[in-house]
Amino acid sequence: MALLQLSEPGQSAAPHEHRLAVGIDLGTTNSLVATVRSGMAVVLNDELGRPLLPSVVRYGAGGRVEVGHDAQAHQSADPRNTIVSVKRFMGRGLKDIAHIESMPYDFVEAAGMIKLKTAQGIKSPVEVSADILKALCERAEASLGGQLTGAVITVPAYFDDAQRQATKDAARLAGLNVLRLLNEPTAAAIAYGLDNASEGIYAVYDLGGGTFDISILKLAKGVFQVLSTGGDSALGGDDFDHRIFCWVIERAKLSPLSHEDARLLQMRAREAKEFLTLNGEAPITAKLSTGEFVDLRLTSETFTEITRTLVQKTLGPTRKALRDAGLRPEDVKGVVMVGGATRMPQIQNAVENFFGQEPLNNLDPDKVVALGAATQANLLAGNRAAGDDWLLLDVIPLSLGIETMGGLVEKIIPRNSTIPVARAQEFTTFKDGQTAMALHVAQGERELVSDCRSLARFELRGIPPMVAGAARIRVTFQVDADGLLSVTAREQTTGHEAHIEVKPSYGLSDDEIAAMLKDGYTHASEDAFRRALREAQVEAQRLVEAVQSALKEDAHLLSTLERTHIDGCLTKLQTVLLGDDRRAIDAAMDALSKGTAEFAARRMNQSVQRALAGKKVDDVTL
């Protein structure tokens, strides 16, 4: 076939080439990376055979960045520069963070998201997360022996837009191509569902180090449909540690602690919690820098008692999620337990009592999210094997709305809407001759805008002067498959339009990311150049393969003239791809994208028509 001759020898246009894709569980306490190897999802261990990478980053005075076990070893000696549980700071301001007084960091309040002052300068939580992602990416590339095509990164289902955007920014900063942000409970459901080929209603109870999620899913005929989700993005195993920590301080009647001693006792608290999973009593001993000794025994009864309210706090969102799905606890066929914190016996008991059935613990609660993410990454990267035809339909966790008169929020997209989703709402002017309108986008369930999370403020200018109430401004919210929002506003009578990506008011602007990327390479600008070029080449190669595969399937949708034009663009891109002129690559990619837009539309229409025409057509095209 003529079209196969288009690819250069040595270029990877082979249709069945396996693309390297990973799933990353970017956790509060630990992170993991997994991939699909010979059809099986496996967690990739480090060189010492350890699967978990502690989500700890140390910015030492010498300019060295340590991630994981090395950083963790220093957390008590150098707490100020050793960042733990950074996930709790993602997309969050100072006022959002609990127990801030017992944290050893130098916080810097910045627009929208806090930052931390370290021995290596001010670090945003996005940069700290990017360093964790880079370590996982290096582990994966070393283990798989090649550059990654892309990654699926998991986020708590209850993460709001600010937290999701921050996670995606971190991935970009780490140089990862994000195939999808995937909700953690949904990832766990894939790992479970595909193993057991189950059908019915399942609940996923996911208590991680710092976040709690509950998702209610319906599994039917290979479709994982999330019916509702709920949670608390600031509740997790860390809070159980904190209760023990407070109990120790009270029992041992300790004087105010230094940051080093505080971190030491937090570590002891965590160890005690883990010990109580299999034992009725845990010893807690420590020698503090003041010379004081701590020597206590914590029984599981006391532990259960001091954490009772935390356990209860998970049941409220669980009830709400069931109600949102229109279901009762007895409708649930199985309850999947996810996250290391679900090992605590009081959690197991509470869940068993609530649902009236023993929860499912067959898969390692620390690994199940990464395994599910790897499975999905493999599918999204295009490595589909026979039988890989499941589909995920997920939802947004919190309603999106816009501020109206009197500081109220008008909800535009309700929580638990299946994504992608778009909704439009019309607004009008309040005064005669009004030519500008301020829009304030908020997320949350409360009536007052001050009780919701502010996502973005923007202005629509240039509205033609009219009497009050005559202008018609249509505001469209679009939430994509990553759960990320973009907003467009259009004045209907004149067509005046404003478009915003809902990020500049908190997260990082594109300029900031570019600056951070550049900073990382100030010592080696040659590296920065080569890396940017390599990224452009990889991106271009991806586009070439995508177009080639589309042409192979659906060349019949093009006229000879159209085909010649696309072939021309394709050849041009393949030629510049091998050189080192990044601008030429970008220009050729742009031309090919534009040249194939109409082709893409026809292909999609054809897909829809085939779906409508029923399954007979499927058989023909397979």
Binding site: R19, L179, R180, A220, K221, V223, L315, G316, P317, R319, K320, R323, D324, G326, R328, Q376, L379, L380, A381, G382, D389, L391, L392, L393, S417, T418, I419, P420, V421, A422, E445, Q478, D480, A481, R542, L543, A546, V547, S549, A550, L592, S593, T596, A597, A600, A601, R603, M604, N605, S607, V608, Q609, R610, A611, L612, A613, K615, K616, V617
Partner: protein
């Protein structure tokens, strides 16, 4: 293979799913069709393709979600049918309701307020499920009215049901506040 007119499919949710334009609906069939179409158009199916294809997938999947949501929910479906029939239910202008209905609603509202003040989560939860069962009959009447072309009666029922659905939302909100 039947060729579907894509413009029609984009404009009419019933023709998107190839279902008759009626309030009576085979919800199992709708769900199957929804899954089949999403399986073709969903962005996850196109994640490895070019940006144009990804954008197209998002638009189609968004449209299919909206169509499914509208047809799946009986009240939304009814409003959509009335809109297709060009019948204005006069939400803003026509606020008259039967007196008996209003009295029953007020009593229910008081029960909700009392349970809320007493912090009685179980009572609210039970009330929610009882009400859900009770309005099933009204949805049956709505179906008959729409499918026999009695749009005036259907419009009145839609207005009542919107009132009742709002009460559900209030119970939900009360529960969320109590459980927080």
């Amino acid at each position: 293979m039947t060729i579907f007119d894509l413009e029609t499919v984009k404009q009419d949710y019933f023709s998107l799913f190839g279902l008759p334009r009626r309030q009576e609906l085979d919800s199992v069939r709708l769900e199957e069709l929804y899954r089949d179409i999403q399986a073709k158009v969903h962005p996850d199916r196109h994640a490895h393709l070019s940006d144009s294809e990804k954008r197209m997938a998002m638009q189609w999947a968004t449209h299919v979600n909206e169509a499914y949501l509208t047809l799946k929910d009986p009240l939304r479906r009814a409003r959509y049918l009335l809109q297709l029939a060009g019948h204005d239910i006069g939400l803003e202008s026509n606020t008259a309701m039967p007196a008996g209905f209003l009295i029953a609603q007020m009593e229910l509202r008081e029960t909700v307020a009392e349970a809320k003040d007493a912090g009685d989560v179980d009572a609210l939860d039970a009330l929610h499920h009882r009400l859900r069962q009770e309005i099933g009959g009204e949805y049956a009447s709505l179906r008959d009215a729409l499918d026999t072309g009695d749009f005036a009666r259907a419009g009145a029922l839609v207005r009542q049901l919107m009132f009742q659905e709002k009460l559900f939302q209030e119970i939900d909100e009360a529960l969320s506040v109590l459980e927080a």
